[in-house]
């Protein structure tokens, strides 16, 4: 045990120290905290300052960071705007170039047509003033000149057709641009469409000495048939246009729940850096430019917009100098039902059993290109086509083969006689009437009425292959019955 007196002394000492400490703290509390001119006061101020500076620095760097973000965001917007502006300027520039080109392109055929009409008018005028004697003396001349005049009308017609197609492209693209193109998606069999296109473009390809092949299909697809046709027409037009020699192929392949309709060509091809470029409007690959051939460079822009509208993926493969493939992927109709299936079956049966298959059809056409194309078209339907450029030549050939045709197709304007007369000669030869079809550029009502009374069918040019086929089918059925 400690001495109590010592303990009291210790406690008193502790009490004293606590009182001193307490007093110092109370003085300190009264004199306030920071500041003062003492060295320690300066230190306290420094610490507080440091805290303030640190807080402010943090605030500043945060503000700085935000500012940087804002700046970079604005820079991005600015860049995007600049890009958009450049794109717009480019588009504008392209449009200006295009307008210059298009006014030239439209003016040229118009001028040509006007000149040709003027020439024709003059010639007609001359002809009416030439007296009878002269006419007889210049008989040979006259025939030549009439032929020239007919050629001129044909050429005028051709120029006007070109203009029509140019205008149609323009209307298409402006409708697409204006967003007023309506889509009517439905299920349909793709085969009739492909057949029709094959027949038409087969004719065109033939006239350019290109091989044309089409692959059939029984697929049912779901999209807008009219717009799909526009797309394929544009692709086919390009394929034929950009293929100086070789082949054009229209095919189709399955791709999961879809089919891809493909247009192959052995044409000039597209450099890989031009693969997106070509889909812009008014862009064309460098080529020999004649108005009728050139088009406006809108084809692929139309393709892209329609396909965008219908959500049909477009595929391009191309090797420069070797050729290109453009593919459009179209969804298959989910469940092949109803009309579409029936149509597909009917079409398939038509093609397979072939009302036309093995039928002998004679063709009289004085234009060798058209003759060859039509024969090819008929052959794709399984027809045994026998084509000649005059009734006489045809009769020689038929006699040599010892066959009678199931039907005859004749152009109305032949060299030296009409189709009407040609058919009459052929029927005379066989001693009976034959199912026959007259193809004519423009049939007058009088002519049409007369031919009909003779039981002839008439098709006007340009020939729609689907109609040609339908008419032919009826004719051969008629011949059998």
């Amino acid at each position: 045990m400690r001495d109590p007196a010592q303990r009291i002394a210790d406690l008193e000492e502790e009490n004293r120290r606590l009182r001193v400490t307490n007093g110092v703290l109370m003085d300190q509390a009264e004199s306030g905290l920071a500041g003062g001119e003492s060295s320690y006061g300066l230190f306290q101020t420094a610490v507080i300052l440091e805290d303030t500076v640190r807080a402010r620095t943090e605030e500043l760097s945060e503000a700085n960071r935000r500012l940087h973000m804002e700046i970079s965001r604005r820079r991005e917007v600015e860049n995007a705007l600049l890009e958009a502006k450049t794109a717009a300027e480019l588009a504008n520039e392209n449009k200006t170039k295009f307008l210059t080109a298009v006014s030239h392109d439209l003016q040229q055929p118009l001028t040509a047509a006007r000149l040709m009409l003027q020439t024709l008018a003059e010639r007609l005028g001359e002809a009416s003033h030439v007296d009878m004697v002269d006419r007889i003396q210049q008989n040979v001349d006259m025939v030549d000149r009439i032929q020239q005049n007919v050629d001129m009308v044909d050429r005028t017609n051709q120029t006007l057709l070109t203009m029509e197609s140019l205008l149609r492209s323009l209307i298409d693209i402006s409708r697409l641009e204006a967003g007023i193109t309506e889509t009517r998606v439905r299920d349909f069999a793709v085969a009739p469409l492909l057949d029709q296109l094959a027949a038409e473009y087969g004719l065109t390809a033939q006239s350019r000495r290109l091989e044309f092949r089409a692959v059939g299909s029984r697929a049912l697809v779901r999209t807008d048939p009219v717009l799909l046709e526009r797309v394929l027409r544009n692709l086919l037009t390009n394929a034929v246009r950009y293929t100086p020699r070789g082949r054009v192929l229209l095919g189709l392949r399955r791709a999961g729940g879809a089919v891809r309709i493909e247009v192959w060509d052995t044409g000039v091809g597209i450099p890989s850096d031009g693969l997106t470029e070509i889909f812009r409007e008014f862009r064309q690959l460098p080529q020999r430019a004649t108005v009728s051939e050139k088009g406006l460079g809108l084809g692929l822009a139309i393709v892209e917009r329609i396909c965008g509208l219908l959500d049909l993926p477009v595929t391009v493969k191309s090797v420069v100098g070797r050729g290109s493939m453009f593919g459009v992927t179209v969804p298959r109709a989910p469940a092949a039902t109803g009309q579409a299936r029936v149509a597909a079956r009917r079409h398939a049966e038509g093609a397979a059993t072939g009302l036309l298959k093995g039928r002998k059809v004679a063709i009289i056409e004085n234009d060798p290109t058209v003759l060859s194309a039509m024969a090819t078209l008929l052959e794709t339907w399984g027809v045994d086509a026998i084509g000649e450029r005059s009734a006489t030549r045809l009769l020689i050939r038929l006699r040599r083969r010892g066959t009678t045709p199931d039907a005859v197709i004749s152009d109305y304007h032949l060299d030296g006689e009409t189709g009407e007369q040609a058919l009459a000669r052929i029927e005379d030869f066989f001693g009976r009437s034959l199912p026959a079809l007259i193809v004519t550029g423009a049939a007058s009502e009088e002519l049409a009425a007369r031919l009909q009374t003779q039981g002839r069918r008439i098709l006007t040019k340009p020939i729609n292959p689907a109609r040609l086929r339908a008419v032919l089918q009826r004719l051969v059925v008629q011949s059998r019955g």
Binding site: L18, V24, D27, S39, Y40, F43, T45, A46, E50, V53
Partner: protein
């Protein structure tokens, strides 16, 4: 303290060169270091030397080697150079004028500092530098380096006056030493050493840099109140109403006789301000039982007993953080409290700390106190790290 010779790991850059010598002969030491830091167009040379050199020989020798650029330096309690910690000899760093422009000013008689004059000096230096470089100094491009007499007991007033004029430009500094003799320390300016003076250097620097300060002292919950003090002498007479040394020993569970420099270095008092702790190191125990401090003290302040933690990892972490900001440093200008050396030596850490410092290309000295911005601190590692690649390069 032993000098450790080590391999220089990082490639020397042509913007910044470091050197060190342990030659006892001042002329030989200067020649050796000058060769190591030589460059075509130096913009600034900073050196640190042992206090036992014959300064009257050393001072003009350095000047002769670098006659055309600012040369500053001070006496120390130990040198940090590429050779590691040196108890004697010379360490130095040179910056190319291509990356650093500097102006200096001497502030004399800092013990009786005239605040107005000090501010004026600072402003003059700044104006000189800005008119030479033709651009305004800001906290991103400019820094201040201070070498202050370590025995003036007045660093708080000096940094307070200077940094008030710097408007946010970071300041780093160290108090010059004299190998723990506590007699006299010198700062070098214009070719000679000055006693009781402070040397202020202001620089415009193209290298990225970062000022930092770190320490490894943690506060305990043991608190005490300074009940009697003599602020002018940084002397605490009484703690908790009892003689300071005795009370401090009692709180540590020791007797007064146990309060060796090592014990005091490992248990420095700490003040808490806000959420932060600041070390107030005890320099010396007075015969009358009072304690002298390395920084400002006053009656009424509350101290806590501190305890040092892992010095090596604290330093390493800090330097890595700094490196993330400026890249691999070309040099770290270091003011490393001499009391940390006491701790390092006691625990045999000197070698590994020296390794760390060499990894980060340090040059500096053992200081009697460190300054950062407007604060004077004890027992810290305070410095500026300079990146190797100019910001605009």
């Amino acid at each position: 303290m032993t000098a450790t010779i080590r391999h220089i790991t990082a490639p020397p850059t042509h913007w910044v060169r470091r050197g060190g010598s342990t030659q006892a002969d001042p002329l030989k030491a200067v020649t050796e270091v000058a060769a190591q830091i030589a460059m075509p167009d130096p913009g600034l040379v900073i050196f640190f030397c042992a206090a036992d050199y014959d300064l009257t020989t050393l001072a003009p020798a350095i000047w002769r080697h670098f006659p055309r650029c600012p040369v500053v330096g001070c006496t120390t309690a130990g040198v940090i150079s590429p050779r590691g910690y040196q108890s004697q000899g010379l360490g130095a760093v040179a910056f190319s004028a291509a990356v650093l422009q500097a102006e200096t000013a001497l502030i004399e008689d800092v013990g009786a500092l005239r605040v107005t004059e000090c501010r004026q000096r600072t402003q003059e230096v700044r104006t000189r530098l800005e008119s030479r470089t033709g651009r305004t100094l800001d906290s991103g491009t400019g820094f201040a380096f201070l070498l202050c007499d370590g025995l003036c007991l007045n660093e708080e007033r000096v940094v307070s006056a200077i940094s008030a004029t710097l408007s946010g430009i970071p300041l780093v500094g160290g108090s010059a030493g004299d190998d723990l003799q506590f007699q006299t320390s010198g700062v070098y300016h214009g070719g000679r050493f000055y006693d009781a003076a402070a040397l202020l250097l202001l620089a415009d620097c193209r290298l990225p840099f970062r000022a930092f300060s770190t320490h490894n002292v943690n506060a305990t919950d043991q608190r005490m109140v300074v009940t009697q003090a003599e602020p002018a002498r940084r002397l605490v007479r009484h703690l908790n109403g009892a003689p300071a040394a005795a009370e401090y020993a009692r709180l540590l569970g020791l007797s007064v006789e146990d309060l060796t420099p090592e014990v005091l270095a490992e248990h420095p008092p700490v003040v808490k301000m806000g959420d932060d702790f600041y070390v107030r190191s005890i320099i010396e125990m007075m015969p009358d039982g009072g304690l002298t401090f390395g920084c400002a003290v006053d009656t009424g302040i509350v101290l806590r007993i501190g305890r040092t933690g892992d010095l090596v990892s604290n330093l390493d972490t800090t330097l890595r953080e700094v490196r993330r900001e400026v890249g691999t440093p070309a040099v770290v200008l270091a003011c490393d409290c001499t009391l940390r050396q006491v701790e390092m030596e006691r625990h045999g850490l000197t070698g590994s700390v020296a390794d760390t410092l060499e990894t980060f290309q340090a040059v500096g000295f053992s200081s009697y106190g460190e300054q950062i911005n407007s604060m004077h601190l004890n027992q810290t590692f305070t410095g500026i790290a300079f990146g190797a690649k100019p910001r605009d390069a």
